[in-house]
Amino acid sequence: MENILELKQVTKRYGNFTALDNVSFTLHPGVTGLLGANGAGKSTLMKLMTDHMKRTGGEILWNGTDILKMGAKWRALVGYTPQLQGLYDDFSARRFLYYMGTLKGMPHREIKAQTAEMLAAVNLTDAAHKRIGTFSGGMRQRVLLASAMLGKPQVLILDEPTAGLDPGERIRIRNDIAELARDRIVLLATHVVSDIACIAKQVMVLRGGKLIAFDTPSALLAATEGKIGEFFGTYDEIRQLQAQYPSGEIAQRRDGFVLRIAADTLPEGCEPVKDAVTLEDVCRLYLKGEREYG
């Protein structure tokens, strides 16, 4: 039987501020990408899914049972990387993984075997005995990722796991995640759209705490039909137009400057783009008016 994680009208308020507003969706095995500008509520959503804080309303159901009722049983199924690095400087990478394994309630022999396996997966075997305090940002991120994957949990909740990684590592880890996601539910929040474009089965877009899109990448791309356009002109003209479309991206081509715009109705003089539409354009369309994206 396939596992299902279902969110129904999940709401979270910090005082008067609504960080998540009636979010509902269902996750199936495979990678689900979560996109959204800074402050859109991605981390908040993930903290609710790990039951780190109280939700204001709604239900989160694992195969029909609320995760609050499952308690430790639910947490035994979850692997999580928080967005703010949560590591002890005085621990070595290996000790930290042992520690996480113990907290996950894994048997001793498992911990030892899997720690070695995960350290190899994130390419940290050589640094395993070093203090985390001496690690670079990317190395720390990889320790966190390894700790999330430890115990091969059914659900992986990854909050920007590839932030601060170099291109080589990013691709390696992306592939690892894709491999893991074959029979697991993976929710992956990121600002790097290309990560999701490569491996996500489904993409979710949050804006101001509301879920504004949830579909497969191809469906989302199809929906942008005729809404992405390019405007050629002098630099000054382009600057003028960009003032109206702040999410427009300026690019330099061989024959001058071009502004790539995403809008429901394209302005005059703008040529619609047929092919070569990317997920970035989708983001630009959904998140227009928000802070520069990507």
């Binding site: 903290k47 790990t50 039951d51 780190h52 430790a72 049983k73 947490r75 035994a76 979850v78 999580y80 990387t81 928080p82 703010l84 690095q85 949560g86 590591l87 002890y88 400087d89 005085d90 621990f91 070595s92 290996r94 000790r95 042992y98 520690y99 996480m100 113990t102 907290l103 996950k104 309630g105 001793h108 911990i111 395993a128 005995h129 070093k130 203090r131 001496t134 966190l144 700790s147 909740i157």
Partner: protein
């Protein structure tokens, strides 16, 4: 100037300094109080004796001023004459001895006529041996040095070195700052002790000659008490500065591990020399030409000694000033050259490498595979609580040596206890009645004799002898009457309540249950341990922001918390048993807990217990209660830790919340008693 201001007026540093001053004051006042309690017991013990003495003898102070001190000065002068006679007989004597004698005579002659005046010198005597303060004095300057060396490793350190005045001039300013900071430290801690002693005993009169205090009888320097105090402050400052500069110099030239090893060897060596080389030893240079001698300071004024410098006598104060002062100049120059101008060593790398190697070995044979084991590792090693566990063990040893319990029990009392202690039987009651009757008869007989003697106008000696015997007989009679009263009280109690009560020596129970300065001393150490060991337990997770990650795991909530609390409980009980246990063991050893199988109601202040239970059980429960009190306090510290950003934050808040009010209460400030957590930890029964 800006640098000096930055280093000295850093709020965290000032708060730490003030905290140290408060801790010092609390410990010092505790020490004074326990000394006073001991004196009181001592006086009680000799009460009878001193009553008869007081009539005959004059005030000891006047005796010192009028007879003892002049006699001493005269003795010094005559001694040289006797010696020179002896010397003629014994040619083989070393030239140093003769020269030394001449110098001694000259020194005391140069002293001229010292006006010794009477006055209250208890405050001065109190600050004479505050060895604990001397050790605490070193902490704050060392923290300053540590922050300086730590800064050298950071980007700021690299940045300042590239500026124009960032090397030698900056270093010179820092040395100056270290001196000023040491002075402030000494003024605050040592000055605090003196002010506290003055508030307790009254001023010793700063204008009197120092020799007015019998403790300074041997002093060959012309000083008033005020000048002596200033001189002591300066000497202590010099010593603290020298040790701080030594640490700075070594730490900035060596990797931390060999650096600290070197520092421990040198400092421990100096300390041991000062502690264990006798003042009369032929190598007493090691004792006196030593920063720790300067730190101790007072022995240069309470004693008199000349060092043997190539067969020539050199006054020990002057020699020490030259030696330690020279060392200071050398170290300052060394710091200027080595810290200020040379390229900085890449410090810390060796430590990190060593740590890596250890942790590699450790992770290979990971001993802890349980949540409990890991939480213990986190608490003891990642948060360094093991340092404080070791310190608590050291504190227990220190207390063990520090505690003296002497009990004012006369031989009569002891004999009586041996005869009557235990269950009250008819036979014992009869025996007491018999003792009382026979003593009464004897006293009456003596009274008759005395009356006769007075009537017959007998010899004065005979009358006073009779009077004395009569007094003694009356005392014995009163003693047995008191025993009788106590026994009948106990039988009355049994008749009234139906609960058994035995006749049991109570002194040890009194001392234990009623609390006293000694036990409060242990409690203060326990309080310090609880704060320092547990302030980080939860704040550590807050500091590294791991809460979200840990809480998302299966055992990261209940089980982890449970294990953390278990560790708090275990360490608290360990420390409480050890620190309270020191006093209890002393009691058991020196005074003895008599008849622990007797019913608890035999102890007067336990008669409120409405059920029958033996003393042993009550003792066990009482000790458990103390552990529980300690655990409650530990829980409060942990609670603060839970809501603090990081461990040092939590430590500051806990110190301010628990130590500060307790220390202020302990030093005699009239604060509400519920603020005194030292009291809470001792759990007194009243």
């Amino acid at each position: 100037m800006a640098e000096i201001r930055r280093l000295l007026l850093d709020p965290a540093r000032l708060i730490a300094l003030i905290m140290l001053a408060v801790i010092n004051l609390a410990l010092f006042s505790g020490e004074l109080r326990s000394r006073r309690e001991e004196e009181e017991r001592y006086q009680m013990q000799y009460a009878e004796w001193s009553i008869s003495r007081e009539e005959t003898e004059e005030d000891p102070d006047a005796h010192y001023i009028n007879e003892e001190y002049p006699a001493y000065l005269a003795y010094v002068q005559t001694q040289s004459q006797t010696q020179s006679v002896l010397q003629k007989l014994n040619k083989a004597q070393s030239p140093f001895v003769t020269r030394n004698l001449d110098k001694t005579v000259q020194d005391y002659q140069a002293l001229g006529k010292v006006e010794v005046e009477s006055g209250d010198h208890r405050a001065l005597d109190a600050v004479l041996d505050c060895t604990l303060t001397d050790i605490l004095l070193l902490i704050a300057p060392l923290l300053l040095i540590l922050s300086l060396t730590a800064e050298a490793d950071t980007a700021v350190g690299a940045l300042t070195r590239t500026t124009k005045r960032g090397r030698t001039p900056l270093c010179a300013r820092r040395i100056f700052a270290v001196i000023l900071f040491s002075l402030a430290d000494v003024l605050l801690l040592y000055g605090g002790d003196f002010c506290y002693a003055v508030s307790q005993y009254g001023s010793p009169g700063l204008g009197r000659a120092i020799q007015s205090d019998p403790a300074f009888q041997l002093c060959a320097v012309r000083l008033t008490i005020g000048e002596y105090l200033i001189f002591t402050v300066l000497l202590k400052t010099l010593a603290v500065t020298v040790i701080a500069l030594l640490v700075w110099l070594i730490l900035s030239r060596f990797h931390p591990l060999p650096g600290w090893t070197l520092i421990s060897v040198i400092v421990a060596g100096m300390w041991l020399c000062h502690q264990f080389v006798m003042p009369t030893s032929p190598v007493n240079h090691l004792r006196f030409l030593n920063p720790f001698a300067a730190l101790r300071a007072d022995e240069f004024f309470t004693g008199y000694c000349n060092l043997n410098l190539f067969q020539y006598p050199a006054g020990f104060l002057g020699s020490m000033l030259i030696a330690v002062g020279g060392l200071f100049v050398l170290l300052a120059a060394g710091c200027l050259v080595l810290v200020g101008s040379r390229y900085p060593k890449k410090r810390g790398a060796g430590m990190v490498r060593l740590f890596d190697r250890i942790s590699k070995a450790l992770s290979r044979h990971m001993p802890c595979h349980t949540v409990f084991g890991f939480e213990g590792w986190k608490l003891l090693f990642a948060q360094r609580a093991f340092v404080f566990v070791c310190a608590a063990i050291g504190g227990a040893f220190w207390l063990w040596n520090d505690i003296h319990i002497s009990l004012p029990l006369s031989a009569d009392t002891l004999m009586m206890y041996r005869e009557f202690q235990g269950e009250i039987t008819e036979k014992k009651l009869e025996k007491v009645t018999y003792y009382i009757e026979s003593n009464q008869e004897y006293a009456e007989y003596l009274q008759r004799k005395l009356d006769e003697a007075i009537a017959e106008n007998k010899d004065v000696h005979e009358i006073s002898g009779l009077q004395k015997s009569l007094n003694e007989a009356m005392e014995t009679l009163q003693f047995w009457q008191a025993v009788d009263t106590r026994l009948s009280e106990l039988t009355d109690y049994t008749a009234r309540t139906g609960l058994d009560a035995w006749f049991v020596p109570q002194e040890s129970y009194q001392l234990l249950f009623r609390g006293n300065a000694m036990q409060r001393h242990s409690a203060m150490v326990l309080l310090l341990f609880l704060i320092f060991a547990f302030c980080g337990i939860f704040a550590f997770d807050n500091q590294y922001g791991t809460a979200a990650l840990l809480r998302a795991t299966k055992n990261g909530r209940f089980r982890m918390r449970l294990c953390q609390w278990l560790w708090i409980f275990l360490l608290t009980v360990f420390a409480a048993l050890m620190l309270h246990g020191v006093y209890i063991l002393h009691l058991a050893k020196d005074v003895e807990f008599a008849l622990t199988e007797a019913p608890a109601q035999s102890v007067a202040f336990l008669q409120f217990l409405p059920f029958s239970v033996n003393i042993r059980t009550v003792l066990t429960v009482y000790i458990a209660l103390r552990c529980l009190a300690a655990f409650a306090l530990a829980a409060a510290v942990a609670g603060i830790s839970r809501f603090s950003r990081n461990p040092s934050h939590a430590r500051m808040i806990s110190l301010a919340a628990f130590l500060l009010p307790s220390a202020l209460c302990e030093s005699g400030l009239p604060l509400p008693s519920f603020l005194n957590f030292v009291d809470a930890l001792t759990v007194t029964v009243s």
